[in-house]
């Protein structure tokens, strides 16, 4: 560029004006290309949603939500799938959230600069990049056969818990990092211990950021298909797992943890691999519900982040 400018000193004014014009032209051209590129992304999202709605929108009804899968496409539904998804997500939340937040707190507030911390940090970064199907293989070897949990809700929930652990850790760290040091200094000045400072001050201030991370992680977990298939989840489940609440004392049963199950994306994949068009419509309907679930979770997370960013002024 410098050479061009230097030579432009000796240019005729007309030629110089043409050069500037060309450069400005390239600006406009790129602005249009950029806009088009973004429109491609937005258009793809719309195309996908409209396609699903057109193929599956008419299948969504009360009957679809409250029926078991069936040989007859028009009688089939997603009852066992959404119940399974809910229960699996329960296990995922209870396994990944406490561990993830604790790990994030440790790395931000407690860890000393030494090689152990370095090893932990490298591991968290690398785990975030491991393909999800590898988590499925880990779970197949470890949970299903190694620990003998079988192809159960517990195995699936823990698998997805491992998968979203890095997401929870990273967002916890970011949220905690944004709390000013002055907050901690104030607490210490009043004689608070380290844990009291974290528990009473740092964590409450970072709730919004942590919550955003948890929602994003769960929305990813809800849609994950490959690891669940890998642990060998059955696809035809025409019954519900045992209820968590029973008539006899102690009124709470954990039998459902070991029950076979199916989840929304597996049900969709199952219908998708059948040749009959009617089942494809069912797949579209299940996909539409699934997308609405994940998209609304993501929208909630984006909104939360926006709100907290706007509200907090230190």
């Amino acid at each position: 560029m410098a050479a061009e400018l230097a030579s432009s000193n000796r240019m005729e004014p007309q030629a110089l004006r043409a050069l500037i014009g060309r450069n400005k032209q390239s600006d406009k051209v790129f602005a249009i290309i950029g806009l088009l590129a973004m429109l491609v992304g937005v258009f793809a999202l719309l195309w996908l949603l409209i396609g699903l709605a057109m193929d599956g929108g008419s299948r969504i009804s009360w009957q679809f939500l409250t029926s078991f899968p069936s040989r007859h496409a028009d009688k089939a539904g997603i009852l066992s799938a959404w119940v399974g998804t809910t229960l699996v997500m329960l296990v995922t939340t209870f396994s990944a959230v406490p561990v993830g937040i604790a790990a994030g707190v440790y790395l931000e507030e407690y860890a000393r600069r030494n090689w152990i911390t370095d090893v932990i940090e490298i591991n968290v970064t690398n785990l975030a990049g491991v393909p999800s199907i590898v988590y499925g293989l880990l779970a197949l070897g470890l949970f299903v056969y190694g620990l003998g949990f079988g192809q159960s809700i517990l195995s699936a929930g823990l698998t997805l818990g491992l998968l979203i652990l890095p997401v929870v850790i990273v967002s916890t760290r970011e949220a905690i990092r944004s709390v000013p040091v002055a907050m901690r200094e104030a607490a210490y000045a009043l004689g608070a211990t380290r844990w009291q400072t974290v528990h009473d001050h740092v964590l409450p201030y970072s709730t919004g950021g942590i919550l955003t991370g948890i929602i994003l992680g769960l929305s990813r977990a809800i849609g994950e298909t490959a690891p669940i298939i890998t642990i060998g989840a059955l696809t035809f489940i025409a019954f519900l797992p045992p209820a968590p609440i029973t008539n006899e004392p102690p009124f709470i049963s954990f039998e459902w943890l070991m029950a076979p199950f199916t989840v929304m994306p597996i049900q969709m994949f199952n219908w998708l691999s059948r040749p009959q068009a009617a089942f494809l419509n069912n797949a579209a309907a299940a996909g539409l519900i699934l997308v609405l679930m994940t998209v609304s979770m993501n929208a909630l997370a984006i909104w939360l982040r926006y709100r907290f960013r706007k509200k907090i002024k230190w």
Binding site: M1, N23, D27, F30, A31, G34, A37, M38, G41, V42, L45, L48, D55, P98, V99, A102, A103, Y106, E108, Y110, A111, R113, I120, V124, G129, V130, P131, S132, I133, V134, L137, L138, G141, Y145, L165, P166, I169, V181, R184, T193, R194, W195, L216, G223, E224, T225, A226, I229, T230, G232, M268, F269, L272, A283, A284, G287, L290, V291, N298, I302
Partner: protein, 306 residues
Amino acid sequence: MTRSGALLPPPRVSRRRRIVEWLIEGALVLSALSAVFITIAIVFVLLNESLAFFRHVSIIEFLTDTQWTIMFEEKHYGIAPLLAGTLVTSAIGLMVAVPLGTVIAIYLSEFAPHRVREFVKPLLELLIGVPTVVFGYFALLSVTPMLQKVLPDLPGFNMLGPGIVIGIMITPYISSLAEDAMRAVPMTLREGAYAMGATRFRNALTVVVPAALSGIIAAYVLGVSRAVGETMVVAVAAGQQPNFTLNPMEPAATITTFIVQVALGDLPHGSIEYQSIFAAGLVLMLMTLGLNVIGHLLRRRYREVY
């Protein structure tokens, strides 16, 4: 890292309190170490089952045979067809995602008016939230039929459609990471360029992109590992048939779809088919690991300090 290292709590705390503090710190350390345990567990499980697999199949056959017919009577164990499938679908995906993601990142960081940014960025983030199996549906029943109108010979199962959809899927990852890197470039560099009379486009191309190159490369590496590890789009729309070809118009299986296919068949624990998916997983893991190492080296090579 701890920002309050110099601000340790005062020593006058009760003995009970001190034990509680100690226990809590222990629990937090264990939680943080879980990341290390998971990595060790992944490596152990993959290696353990793969070693059992390679007791039956020689590594030479695994690497040189051009057929993968593990589900048939006459078994061949050559990883090449699965690698070819992974290579083709990922390459198509990157051909879509790298230009698209880079242009979007440059546009959002250097060109877009504030309003456009605030509106489009969340939309692109929603694209990240769409489950992969839904993208599979999109590839099979929306994109492939449309491609068939242009290319009448295209079979219903092919690698082109899924490849393009993978590209659309990873575009937001690339654009959002690359944009973060570009926005981290200090304003003074841009001001310098503008002061010398650069237009926006020149400033983006000759100042911002080179300064943010290491971050942009990191975005590409993440995109590649997403594409290589992508499972459901290909499993739904590419036909799951191992096929030693680089022709994107043909159906094929990838490493990931093979794992899915075997897992769907409910094979007995300890059989050679069971072990083979761990060997395939090991190859996948080594590929993503290799990509990350290359990315790390490239990032170091192009890191700009400002």
